[in-house]
Symmetry: C2
């Protein structure tokens, strides 16, 4: 497919590059050309050589890179609004784990599709996904057209080192939409022996590793009681992060933990809405920034957040940092926007989908600037982070395919069918839980 | 106009009443009938007597009362994304006050209209508005069809007791969309003598009074330095709140301040997004709740927030309370929803627009439950507060008139004309500031 996106304002997210007027030409799954309006005449020859499948008049609205949702558990859509207002450990042990046991791979396939619809409405073009049955998640993303970086939720009860290695080898070479990074659920759900083997796997492939880390004060305390050190120090000592990677949440981090992050260039993948809703705390993002620790943003799962909306996360990240630091200048809009796009891509090892640039993957969104929350236009990045909303997303393109446009989805299946399927699954699980 | 809203789910927000299937019949500006689907046959006679101007199939989506935005400075749209990332006092003194001097009443008329468009997209059906030139604000609301409770921003430099009294008498009897409550900007912008006269005015009309209160720690400290007591105690001693009213923000409140609030039944009108963005702090909402202090919610102005979105405020309110209290059970969705609707109406003295009930004003919104963020439907109030978004608002009706539907506005003027007018104003003011 050759798609021409013309008459647009363009925010490439390349460092310091201001918004300019121009157009983007997409050939198959890549950005073939980006041209400023006043340089278009230099491209007459290239233009003549392309036969367009679609020419989309952007009507002076904004093209920018899609958001990278760097921590998700998509299929937890089935628990949205089912259990809320309880603390994390109780929420996990009393509700989440028992309900999850009732999920089949096929259930996860459909429930993931529901989440994909929601990501698309918020301009999210790739997810970093940890959940049960990675194969069905991958299939749901392939079938809908979503880009997905899988990781393992390995723990003492589900998956195994062998399974992870097999998935790692297979899903890094099977489909252009899917890649796979090594991972495990958390220090507190994995035995020392399992973590030792996890470290060996990381060393075997010289690969980065990702895990839940320092989400709650309790988690850190219990690790200290168990091993005498924080989860970060414990995992560092095991050599798990010898080739980089990152931690999800990173709310309760000591100076020592942060030094390790800095030294190993680990990514802090923050989840502000989830950390509020589960009363876990507010991560010290400005402190990460001062120490040069790179930050990416995730929504976490729809049972803990409960929505999958990068605009909410972006405002929260900036606002919470301002109030935590007592400094209204903390974490300005441009920094947050970089975390939600470029830094997210880097954290997910998707450096070919980070900015809008010729040769990069065509993961592009169109933002409607003609809605009242985006007027007047003094400063587009600030509008995006401080007053922007998923309602401004009027087109989401992944890998050169338009999957969402003006409220309509193009994901190979009707939305109503996906809802009906999920409804059946939810009813079955709840009825069997009641028995 | 007689409008039939049928095939709906209905959340009346009357205490403890669950969501039910049914329809609402609007006659002119009021709710004439609300009927559950299974009781419709009892209403055949009434139905036959009405000739419908419009019958709207709600397709099993949700009708509920519109949101009450209990603290706004609408015309500050002109400064959105113009000055951000600076602390409140500097923001006010260096940017806001000098720029505001350049605003005419006509400017405020147009800039308010821009804000009204945004309120409608978020299902906000009435605003509690404090800004310069109340007459032009009232006119903008009358012309667009918005419900507005005006209050005075009286301070040492703008407005006067005489002007406020004249406005109070006039705007409480001029138009069904407009009412007026007594108010002043804040302790720190009013002399003791002016506040004494404010108190006399309140006593003369036995009327409630509203003001900015305890927004920043600095404000409280400076009042203590000036008068030896907190702003709350100082204003209480002056007798200003003898007939009730409320305070906007209420972030930095002592136990003594809260006791006064409780005793006088004052409303704490909270503005969570603004308090984050200006690094003012997090209001102790759960503490208000424990003490029986009623709470309403406001967006504050679009230069401090920067968006006018009740869904963002609702999630923030609940999430911030959970993390402040270290208790994921704090301030659940139903409580927050009441604050955003019923309690807001009470704070604004709009008790005839609080719930959906026969005889009440027809300020009604329709929420699209067929978007992915609202699926599955385990619990509608939780879906609204935890995963809901302004993108779910598909119809906003104020005083029996549909002002917004499926992304289109019906406000007596084209959206593009409003944008263009505001753009002209913004450019003129910025150019003159640069001179």
């Amino acid at each position: 497919m050759n798609i021409r996106l013309y008459n647009a304002q363009i925010l490439t997210m390349r460092k310091e590059e201001p918004v300019f007027r121009g157009e983007i030409w997409v050939k198959n799954n890549k950005i073939a050309y980006i041209t400023a309006a006043d340089k278009l005449k230099d491209r007459t020859e290239e233009f003549a050589a392309i036969s367009w499948d679609m020419e989309l008049d952007c009507r002076d609205n904004l093209l920018m890179p899609g958001f990278k949702d760097a921590h998700t558990h998509s299929a937890m859509t089935f628990l949205r609004s089912y259990v809320d207002d309880v603390p994390l450990q109780q929420w996990l042990e009393k509700y989440v784990f028992p309900m999850e046991k009732k999920l089949s791979g096929e259930d996860i396939y459909h429930l993931t599709k529901l989440a994909v619809l929601e990501y698309l409405t918020s301009g999210i073009t790739s997810i970093f996904e940890m959940y049960l049955t990675p194969d069905s998640i991958a299939q749901a993303c392939i079938d809908t057209g979503m880009r997905c970086v899988l990781t393992s939720g390995l723990n003492n009860f589900t998956s195994s080192i062998e399974q992870q290695e097999e998935e790692y080898l297979r899903w890094n070479h099977s489909d252009p939409l899917i890649s796979y990074q090594l991972g495990f659920h958390s220090e507190y759900t994995c035995s020392k022996d399992l973590l030792r083997r996890m470290s060996q796997l990381a060393h075997k492939y010289r690969a980065p590793v990702y895990t839940h880390l320092a989400e709650t004060a309790k988690e850190v305390q219990e690790c200290k009681a168990r091993y005498g050190v924080s989860p970060m120090v414990f995992l560092y000592d095991m050599g798990i992060f010898a080739f980089g990677g990152g931690g999800y949440h990173c709310v309760h981090m000591s100076a020592g933990d942060m030094n390790i992050f800095r030294q190993l260039r680990l990514y802090a993948i923050t989840n502000p809405a989830s950390n509020l809703k589960l009363a876990s705390g507010v991560a010290p993002i400005a402190e990460f920034e001062r120490r040069g620790i790179p930050v990416a943003i995730g929504t976490d799962g729809p049972a803990s957040n409960n929505c999958l909306d990068m605009f909410r996360e972006m405002f929260l990240l900036s606002g919470l940092s301002k109030v935590r630091e007592g400094d209204a200048g903390s974490l300005d809009a441009v920094k947050v926007l970089r975390m939600a796009t470029v830094d997210g891509a880097k954290a997910m090892q998707l450096s070919h989908a980070d900015v809008l640039e010729e040769g990069k993957l065509a993961d592009i969104i169109l933002i409607d600037l003609r809605q009242p929350n985006m007027q007047p236009i003094h400063n587009i990045p600030k509008n995006l982070v401080y007053s922007g909303s998923k309602s401004n997303v009027c087109m989401t393109m992944v890998n050169g395919r338009i999957l969402y446009r003006n409220g309509e989805f193009f994901v190979g299946e009707s939305v109503e069918d996906i809802y009906a399927e999920c409804d059946r699954i939810v009813k079955r699980i709840i009825n069997s839980a009641a028995e």
